[in-house]
């Protein structure tokens, strides 16, 4: 069966790594030592294998994935375009380098996500850092180690294989001689190229604590909004009255306060002031009239999503014959599931500090796509990308919500108009309104199974939410799976796990419905239809730890389970819920088993899984964007409930460590199991099947 198209709401990773000419000067500024470049194009890779190394003045390859530098003073610095936003890749990538260089992690510095000093990178999304960037850094570090060992062996006339490497030193146990990384790097003084696909060792799998945790617990770390530049002003933007509104008239005369400047360019109106408070007062003094078209409201959302987008292609694929499968079934089930629009709600709202220096622009901003934001800025101001530097400090989370650069562009526009650096921090209301949402969706499922629990037919149609994890992992001979894009109702985009949450919610809820129709235990029913050994392993691990089938839930309680796979991770989730008065659902206990190949950092992996479960609880039980005629009605944390301490269940994580398999990313997939597990547990507790996310109390009352 052909693959469905890539997830439409996420960019695919392109091959265009460009090593720009202005980087060469910067490389010279490194001051010699050993520089290892990771070459990713086929042609240049062949050349790299052929030549292997050269001096600092050679023509450098153009397609570079990352680079690693060992300075004459022994400092090890790895450069990557990936961004840290709480997924702890600064730690895991440091581990990759330190393990290969056999030195303490504290010796390794990571330069991340600064477009002027790191190689081009598409962005930090799609759980790609662990499967791609970590092995790349590992290869470079291994190559650097071999080079340093080689240099020492040559110098001492020793056999390289007899030398040892530990804690930044190369030693010869036979002669007792030793030399530091810095000395060897200075003497070597070369640029070495390694191929992107060289073999790589598996991770050691140790729980290194967050490398810069101390900066965070002391408040020393500066997020984008904490940056400060000389003469910096604070900006605010006049927002339209509704989506798609056009500015009719604006009167900014009342905003003429000391130190305030109003900046207008077409429909863009903003203010700058010496502080946020004054900027806010000036903004509210502006009188503006807008005109907006009539727009869809939340009540009409799901009917609207069923209308296909006129120009969009439908993706459908089939195997076997659905009709035959349905005829062969003893029981058939048909049901529809819906998923609301939700907001990422990163605790750090979008923020940017922009500074012009002649025709050059520097912007500090929280983003998953520093090079994407650089491109947006270059386009917005009609300047070459080389004139734009985007620096992404470790960011206060994103969850797929910080792909775009509008805040950076707004700050740069204000800075240009003001002639001074400008800081712009989106308010929570702006963050809820003017970013983008996880797509809402409608999913129709029709299925059939035999009395002995074999699924014979599967028809699955997803309107709008997306194609991630749309394929059932079960062994079903007759199936049709369709993704139908809809006309966009609200601005929508990437989100942690993308549509995999919606598709798992519908599929794993439906599997329980089908199991119930043929009178079979949900675990047994799944096992009977699952050939995928990796999913079976996590399903068994979760069920075993949860005690599935060994106890009956107390009155008003229910157990539910769900399993699946996405982005190289296998997941199974068991949940116990209690349903109280007025349909209040409390998730009492969760056991989640996860397998993503070889575990890199067990403690951080557990942290990610626990966090994904918590975030998943929000979408499962509370979160939904309410909107009416182009306006968001609940754009505040007091109106849009996200999970809090009291919502956190007891969580047990079971890690299935497959040291024999390459490591997959783990920031996203652990989110997909909780919603269907909870839906299935609510059904067991109450006999009511809820087919909408979020599952609200009124649906149970």
């Amino acid at each position: 069966m052909p693959e469905l198209e890539l997830e439409r709401y996420e960019l695919s990773e392109g091959p265009a790594y460009r090593f720009e000419s202005n980087r060469r000067d910067w490389l010279k500024s490194l001051g010699g030592g050993l520089l290892v470049l990771l070459v990713v194009s086929d042609l240049e890779r062949a050349q790299a294998q052929e030549a292997g190394r050269g001096g600092w003045n050679q023509k450098l390859p153009e397609n570079i994935g990352a680079w690693l530098h060992i300075a004459p003073d022994g400092t090890v610095t790895a450069f990557t375009g990936k961004a840290e936003m709480g997924q702890n890749i600064r730690t895991s990538l440091t581990q990759a380098v330190a393990e290969e260089l056999r030195c303490a992690p504290s010796r390794v510095k990571l330069e991340m996500a600064d477009t002027s000093v790191v190689p081009f990178d598409m962005g930090t999304f799609g759980s790609r850092t662990t499967p791609t960037m970590a092995p790349q850094l590992r290869r470079m570090a291994a190559s650097a180690r071999e080079t340093l060992v080689g240099a020492a062996a040559k110098q001492w006339g020793a056999d390289a294989a007899s030398l040892t490497v530990a804690d930044g030193w190369v030693s010869d146990p036979a002669s007792g001689q030793r030399a530091g990384f810095g000395d060897l790097a200075r003497r070597t003084d070369l640029v070495k190229c390694v191929a992107g696909d060289a073999a790589v060792k598996p991770p050691a799998g140790t729980s290194l604590p967050k490398v810069d945790a101390r900066d965070f617990v002391t408040g020393r770390h500066r997020y984008a909004a904490d940056m400060r530049r000389p003469g910096m002003l604070h900006g605010r933007i006049l927002r339209p009255s509704a989506f798609n509104a056009k500015l009719v008239s604006v009167d900014a005369s009342a905003a003429a306060m000391p130190g305030v400047k109003v900046i207008r360019e077409g429909d863009f109106v903003g203010v700058v002031a010496p502080d946020e408070h004054t900027a806010g007062k000036a903004l509210s003094a502006i009188r503006a009239q807008w005109t907006a078209p009539r727009q869809i409201s939340a009540a009409d959302l799901f009917a609207e999503l069923r209308k296909p987008a006129p120009s969009e292609r439908h993706d459908a694929r089939s195997a076997g014959s659905l009709d035959e499968g349905l005829r062969a079934a003893d029981k058939t089930v048909q049901s529809t599931y819906t998923v609301a629009y939700i907001a990422h709600t990163p605790l750090e709202p979008r923020a940017a500090v922009a500074e012009w220096n002649g025709g050059n622009l520097t912007v500090w901003t929280g983003s998953q796509r520093p090079f994407g934001v650089r491109e947006e800025l270059a386009q917005a101001f009609g300047i070459p990308e080389e004139s734009v530097r985007v620096i992404v400090p470790d960011t206060g989370s994103a969850y797929g919500g910080k792909h775009t650069g509008e805040c950076a562009i707004e700050a740069a526009r204000l800075a240009k108009g003001a002639g001074k650096p400008v800081k712009l921090v989106w308010t929570r209301e702006e963050e809820f309104t003017w970013a983008y949402f996880r797509p809402a969706g409608v999913i129709d499922v029709r299925s059939g199974a035999t009395k002995d629990g074999r699924i014979t037919a599967w028809e699955f149609t997803n309107y709008n939410s997306g194609g991630s994890a749309i394929d059932p992992p079960y062994d079903i001979p007759n199936q049709t799976v369709t993704f139908t894009p809809s006309r966009e109702v609200l601005r929508q985009g990437s989100y942690r796990g993308l549509a995999a949450t919606a598709n798992h919610f519908a599929r794993e809820s439906h599997i329980d419905e089908l199991a119930a129709a043929v009178g079979m235990d949900p675990l047994e029913f799944r096992r009977r239809n699952l050939k995928n050994e990796r999913i079976r392993a996590v399903l068994d691990a979760a069920a075993e730890r949860f005690g599935w089938g060994r106890t009956k839930p107390a009155s008003g309680h229910g157990y539910g389970l769900a399993c699946g796979t996405e982005k190289g991770g296998q997941i199974a989730c068991c949940a116990e819920v209690s349903v109280g008065p007025q349909g209040r659902v409390r998730i009492e206990r969760v056991v989640e088993a996860f397998e993503c190949g070889a575990v890199v950092n067990p403690e951080h992996l557990k942290n990610q899984i626990e966090g994904a479960i918590l975030m998943g609880i929000g979408g499962a039980l509370f979160e939904a964007i309410d909107f009416d005629n182009g306006r968001i009605l609940n754009a505040r944390l007091s109106k849009y409930r996200v999970p809090r301490f009291s919502d956190a269940p007891a969580i047990e994580v079971v890690l299935v460590d497959r040291k024999d398999l390459p490591s997959a990313g783990a920031g996203e997939t652990p989110i997909v199991g909780i919603a269907p597990a909870v839906a299935n547990a609510i059904y067991q507790a109450t006999g009511k099947r809820i087919r909408s996310m979020p599952m609200l109390p009124q649906m149970l009352a």
């Binding site: 936003m85 709480g86 997924q87 702890n88 604590p209 967050k210 945790a213 101390r214 965070f216 617990v217 002391t218 408040g219 020393r220 770390h221 500066r222 997020y223 909004a225 904490d226 400060r228 604070h234 502080d275 946020e276 408070h277 004054t278 709600t345 990163p346 605790l347 750090e348 709202p349 470790d394 960011t395 206060g396 989370s397 969850y399 921090v425 308010t427 929570r428 403690e603 951080h604 942290n607 990610q608 626990e610 966090g611 994904a612 479960i613 918590l614 975030m615 505040r636 944390l637 007091s638 996200v642 999970p643 809090r644 301490f645 009291s646 919502d647 956190a648 007891a650 969580i651």
Partner: protein
């Protein structure tokens, strides 16, 4: 007006209505205190005023004048982390860590009131602090760890 932040007195000429949060961040460059929502719902802006946790985004600077303000930058003592800060590191109780300052200050205030809280009491006291990354159970564990450390220190014979 006079603002006493982390034991240091500052003389400031600012609009008394301006939220304390922005005065701390802009005038005193104490950026460890974060903006999250502006309506006191998320706790990222939590500071201690005379030892009591307050939402600095909803506190006019005039209400804090002359009082003892403690921000995250004021917890370290001569390069030694506060027990709660250390416990957050040890329990890996953060991901993006944007909530961490507010979490730590809420926990410090709780342990000051009640040095040996139950898990339930910790959760209740911290309910107003949001960790969007969902490290709640780890934060509870960190507060428990800090409680143990503080109690042990208090019980240890003084040298």
């Amino acid at each position: 007006m006079d603002l006493v932040a982390n034991g240091e007195r500052h003389r400031l000429n600012v609009d008394p209505e301006r939220p304390l949060l922005f005065v701390l961040r802009n005038e005193l460059d104490l950026t460890g205190t974060k903006y999250g929502c502006g309506e006191g719902e998320c706790g990222a802006c939590t500071v201690l005023i005379d030892g009591v946790p307050r939402r600095s985004c909803r506190t006019p600077v005039s209400a804090a004048a002359g009082k003892q303000i403690t921000t995250i930058e004021g917890l370290e003592d001569a390069g030694r982390l506060h027990a709660v800060q250390q416990a957050f590191i040890d329990a890996d109780a953060m991901q993006c860590a944007y909530c961490t300052s507010g979490m730590i200050l809420s926990a410090v205030a709780l342990l000051h009131r009640n040095p040996t809280p139950t898990d339930e009491q910790i959760r209740r006291a911290m309910e107003g602090n949001i960790c969007r990354c969902g490290a709640y159970n780890r934060i509870v564990a960190a507060v428990r760890k800090a409680s143990t450390a503080i109690t042990a220190r208090a019980e240890a014979p003084h040298a």
